[in-house]
């Protein structure tokens, strides 16, 4: 009787196990079915919905269609949340079924099992030990082998980044041989790479910060401003490439796509290359590793007090990022067509930023920055008034500001050394001016120019040169501001003149490269390019490097007669000016930055 009862309970347990097993199986199947259904029908990928949305773009006012789309969207969402409910409920039912099944199985197993005498083990412990040794040793070998293989064959792209070199660069300020300069505007305790200094800081407290002063040796090593050292368009670098081909990639060492366009030319400080880009949404400063083309950082010029919420209108051929940046050991400085000027450390930390007032300029502000002696010089010639500013590189505060009386100018300032002092040469309509960089005092002014001035001045052979299309070309003695000669035969519109070895070269927008005697202004020769010149010619290794707007370069041995060394074609329109360093040529197109060098 007792046996019958026990069997009865066991049978019930078995019955429960079968029922719970079948139930669990059914729930599982339903959940799988639900999964397959949802996988096959992705509500986000509904063709009907896509068609309706496409129709809406052509019929934006169709209220009926909007209502239908909303209905469809609502249905899809209901289906989704319904499936979620099914999922949760199914999972709960599945768990309940599985628990019931496990409990009943355990019960059955326990009832069916009695303590019994084991059949006895025949374990040969010796053999077990020997086999264990083999397997443990094999495990050890496998671990070491895998580790060695991974050490040998796993990649580490971080090495390409060459952080050691970057670290060396980061510590450049501490190296010997670079003159240190006390600056006056950083307060004790301030973090030089801390919060942005939107407003110039006041000179209070203990002066503790030092920065490196640029020397001419630095400039000869670094292409730190538009047209290289002092903006003269002459580079001391050698072993430069003479041939390349954009189509085949010959001698193109790297090419990096840039997301936000700008017409400015890159500048270089040691291993880093800086340039900017801007559109209505973003104003960006980029930093590339110039050896690899890897983007080291990009920073946006945002949160600047006084910056306009809507940028001023500019023309497509100028834009908001036409001015080239300038850089020194302390940082990199960029100005945009919004009037925002911003500084970053070489590592991308924001140093300071301010707005100079939105420039009234119908094409867009394009005067590039240049730096010397701890100051960034800004030629800010606008329709609402013109001025020349020197900003402290440390915090952006105004060291001096000199009002100017001239029209808008698109030219950039250059620096010249005279009588042991550095002068700032600035061109506009109607004046060519010289300023003392220490206090902004105007040293001389020549009324010689007219029109919309784009080309920047040039310097060489003891004379300053200025030229502009539909106006004139003049040579001025910088000691007293007197005009030495004047000529109107060939004139540049955008590209700036360059002096070399007694000759003055200009590149025109009608594809002519012309040579003049720098002392007399006599015309020497002309060379016809294939397309217009916007990019300024640069003298490197005694040769002229000039890019036309089609992307073809003309490398010319100058002198009494032009000798075309080569005319490699990049195949990418060029408006910027080439940059040189360590046997390499860098050039920016509208979409890319290229590094060209002999492979």
């Amino acid at each position: 009787m007792l046996m019958d009862k026990s069997d009865n309970i066991l049978n019930r347990a078995r019955f429960i196990a079968v029922i719970s097993g079948v139930f669990t199986a059914l729930v599982s199947i339903l959940l799988i079915f639900n999964y397959v259904q949802i996988s096959l029908y992705d509500p986000l990928d509904s063709q009907v919905m896509k068609q309706m949305v496409a129709r809406l773009s052509s019929e934006p006012g169709n209220e009926e269609l909007i209502r239908e789309i909303r209905q469809m969207d609502l249905l899809a969402r209901r289906a989704y949340f319904n499936s979620l409910w099914q999922l949760r409920t199914g999972a709960a039912l599945l768990l309940a079924g599985a628990i019931t099944l496990i409990v009943s199985l355990r019960f059955i197993h326990r009832q069916d099992t009695h303590i019994e005498k084991p059949e006895g083990n025949n374990i040969n412990e010796k053999q077990v030990r020997i086999r264990s040794q083999k397997w443990i040793a094999a495990t050890g070998m496998i671990i070491i082998l895998l580790a060695v293989l991974s050490a040998l064959f796993s990649s580490n792209h971080l090495r390409q980044f060459d952080t050691e070199r970057l670290a060396d660069t980061a510590s450049v300020d501490e190296e010997d041989g670079i003159e240190k300069l006390q600056i006056s505007s950083r307060v004790a305790g301030d973090d030089p790479v801390g919060e942005p200094a939107d407003e110039p800081e006041e000179e209070t407290g203990e002066v503790v910060e030092t920065i490196s002063r640029i020397t001419m040796a630095d400039l000869n090593e670094n292409h730190n401003s538009l047209r290289g050292p002092l903006g003269h368009g002459i580079t001391p670098h050698s072993n430069l490439p003479l041939n390349w081909d954009g189509e085949t990639g010959e001698n193109i060492l790297w090419k990096t796509e840039i997301e936000v366009h700008g017409y400015n030319s890159p500048v270089i400080w040691e291993d880093r290359m800086f340039f900017s880009g801007a559109n209505d949404q973003r104003r960006v400063v980029y930093c590339l590793d110039r050896h690899s083309g890897v983007l080291l950082w990009e920073r946006e010029a945002t949160d600047i007090t006084g910056s306009p919420s809507v940028p001023p209108e500019t023309t497509d051929d100028t834009g908001l990022a036409a001015p080239s940046l300038t850089t020194d050991p302390y940082g990199v400085y960029a100005i945009f067509g919004t009037g925002d000027i911003i500084a970053f450390s070489h590592h991308g930390e924001r140093l300071w930023a301010r707005n100079l007032g939105v420039p009234e300029n119908h094409y867009g502000h394009s005067s590039s920055l240049i730096t010397w002696d701890g100051k960034v010089f800004v030629q800010y010639d606008t329709a609402a008034g013109s001025r020349l500013l020197a900003l402290d590189v440390a915090d952006g505060s105004t060291v001096w500001e000199t009002p100017r009386d001239n029209d808008i100018s698109w030219a950039s300032p250059i620096l010249i050394e005279q009588d042991g002092s550095m002068r700032l040469i600035v061109l506009s309509n109607p004046n060519l001016d010289a300023y003392d960089i220490d206090n902004g005092e105007q040293l001389w002014s020549v009324d010689c120019m007219s029109g919309e001035v784009g080309p920047s001045p040039a310097y060489g052979g003891g004379l300053v040169y200025a030229a502009n299309e539909y106006a004139t070309m003049v040579a001025v003695d910088p000691s007293d501001g007197s005009i030495v000669w004047e000529d109107r035969y060939y004139l540049p519109e955008v590209s700036s003149p360059v002096y070399h070895d007694g000759y003055l070269y200009i590149a025109t927008t009608y594809a002519v490269l012309a040579c003049f005697d720098a002392q007399t202004g006599d015309f020497i020769w002309e060379f016809d390019g294939e397309d217009r010149f916007y990019s300024s010619p640069v003298i490197a290794e005694g040769r002229i490097y000039a890019f036309d707007t089609s992307g073809r370069a003309y490398i010319i041995e100058p002198g009494d007669e032009p000798v075309l060394v080569s005319s490699p074609d990049l195949g990418d329109p060029i408006y910027s000016t080439p940059v040189f360093a360590d046997g390499k040529l860098y050039i920016r197109s509208n979409t890319h930055v290229y590094c060209i060098g002999d492979n």
């Binding site: 199947i29 040794q133 443990i136 495990t139 580490n156 971080l158 970057l166």
Partner: protein, 448 residues
């Protein structure tokens, strides 16, 4: 010696196991499919002025409740210790473990637990600026302390991960000894890697690859759901597979338990070598009496012992050099190293990729240079940590090999203190001190 006959299973039982097999197959697919259905629908694009509500962020558990959790843990451990050492009741240990599963597992969602606590402690010891909560520290330390006193009581009843596996043990099979000993290395290896990844601030791999937390929370990723169900399915036949062959905290407890001052014993008095307990342990944690003659150490064993002992320093050095050298691969688990490698290899991804990691990086204030600098620092930490990990693994292999040539004479059945979970199953089988045990009845019948 009496013969106790085992009842043969009938055909229904066979069918039930077949059904179980089919269900297991289904269970492989279902959780994954279930998890794949979540989080697919984007937020609607409202154009009606509707304002989205703020995202609810759950408050951290109140300090009072954390202390309550700790109190529950202490009570469970104390009660189980008493049950195992004094009361010797498997039944009560079982129900206590069910309570712990419900509380620490399903109610507390499997968190916090001492297993993951290994990583918190490692990060606090080696990481920068990580502050270890006292509750986490207590959860980590208390089971260790109890283990030193009474063996692996935590595994017996307080660990939800262990208990959920314990409940599904239905038809345990014995694994070959050599396999168990080899697989038994894995928890130590896992522990080493868990400490390395936690100490370098990379990730908590124990938590990331916790196979059961998804079951406790009723939600898991596809892969983890598959993993959890796989462990439970395997656990029907291979008892507590996670505990025996993976759990890194179990590896620590194993060592502590060997040195425990007291431990659960199969028999309350003197073992009578009835052999009944021989098959009682589903975890193969019972050491049998051995034949001294057959298992006596030979000259070859002595030579091996000397060789293995001498090899330990070599293994430590080789392991240290090899694992340290593999820092490039190991460190790629770290998000910074992974992302930096990706972006340095292909900078264009910064603009072209819609990877969340890249988008987040681009939206941050960090520069690529900063990222690479951080990643390089992480790699150097991995290189340093690799020395310790490799050395530890070399030591582990060396000691394990040495252990295989050391012999210990056993004349009775006794629990292996390192492997025993103190679950008390074997106590049920032991007839000593149980006049009503079938062993005595059969014995009497044979003598009458």
């Amino acid at each position: 010696m009496p013969e106790i006959i085992k009842t043969a299973g009938d055909s229904i039982r066979k069918n039930i196991f077949l059904l179980t097999g089919i269900l297991l197959l289904l269970l492989f697919i279902v959780p994954g499919s279930a998890s794949a259905q979540q989080q697919r629908f984007p937020m609607p694009e409202f154009q009606t002025g509707y304002e989205l509500p703020d995202t609810d962020r759950p408050e951290p558990r109140a300090p009072g409740m954390e202390i309550f959790d700790l109190a529950v843990l202490v009570l469970v451990l104390a009660f189980t210790t008493w049950l195992v050492l004094k009361r010797r009741s498997r039944k009560l240990v079982f129900w206590t473990s069910v309570f712990a599963l419900l509380y620490f597992g399903f109610y507390r969602n499997g968190c916090i637990c001492p297993i993951g606590g290994v990583q918190n402690v490692s990060l606090a010891l080696f990481g920068d600026g990580y502050i270890l909560s006292l509750t986490v520290l207590a959860f980590f330390v208390i089971p260790l302390f109890v283990t030193l006193f009474a063996g692996r009581i935590f595994c017996a009843s307080a660990c939800p991960l262990g208990v959920i596996q314990d409940l599904v043990i239905i038809k345990p099979v014995k694994l070959p000894q050599w396999l168990q000993r080899t697989l038994g290395l894995i928890p130590f290896i896992f522990l080493g890697f868990a400490v390395l990844y936690a100490a370098t601030g990379t990730t908590f791999i124990i938590c990331r690859y916790d196979p059961f937390v998804g079951i406790f929370r009723m939600g898991a990723s596809f892969s983890m759901a598959i993993l959890g169900v796989s462990f439970l399915a395997a656990g029907i036949f291979v008892a507590r597979p996670y505990c025996r062959f993976l759990c890194p905290y179990g590896a620590i407890l194993r060592v502590f338990s060997i040195f425990s001052s007291r431990h659960m014993s199969i028999t309350p008095e003197e073992c009578i070598n009835c052999k009944l307990c021989e098959d009682s342990c589903p975890f193969d944690a019972i050491d049998y009496p051995n034949d001294e003659k057959k298992n006596r150490a030979t000259k070859a064993d002595y030579r091996r012992f000397v060789f293995y002992s001498a090899a330990i320093p070599v293994l430590i050095i080789a392991g240290a050099l090899a694992v340290s050298g593999s820092y490039k691969l190991l460190s790629k688990v770290h998000p910074d190293v992974y992302l930096a490698n990706l972006l340095v290899e292909d900078p264009g991804m910064m603009y072209e990729s819609d990877m969340t990691e890249i988008e987040t990086f681009m939206a941050s204030d960090r520069t690529l240079e900063m990222l690479v600098a951080d990643a390089t620092e992480v790699q150097s930490r991995f290189r340093r940590g690799g020395y310790y990990l490799g050395g530890f693994l070399g030591l582990l292999i060396g000691l394990s090999l040495t252990q295989q040539v050391t012999f210990r004479k056993r004349t009775i059945y006794e629990v292996n203190r390192g492997s025993c979970y103190s679950c008390g199953r074997c106590m049920e089988y032991c007839p000593v001190g149980k006049p009503d045990h079938p062993y005595h009845k059969e014995d009497n019948n044979n003598h009458s």
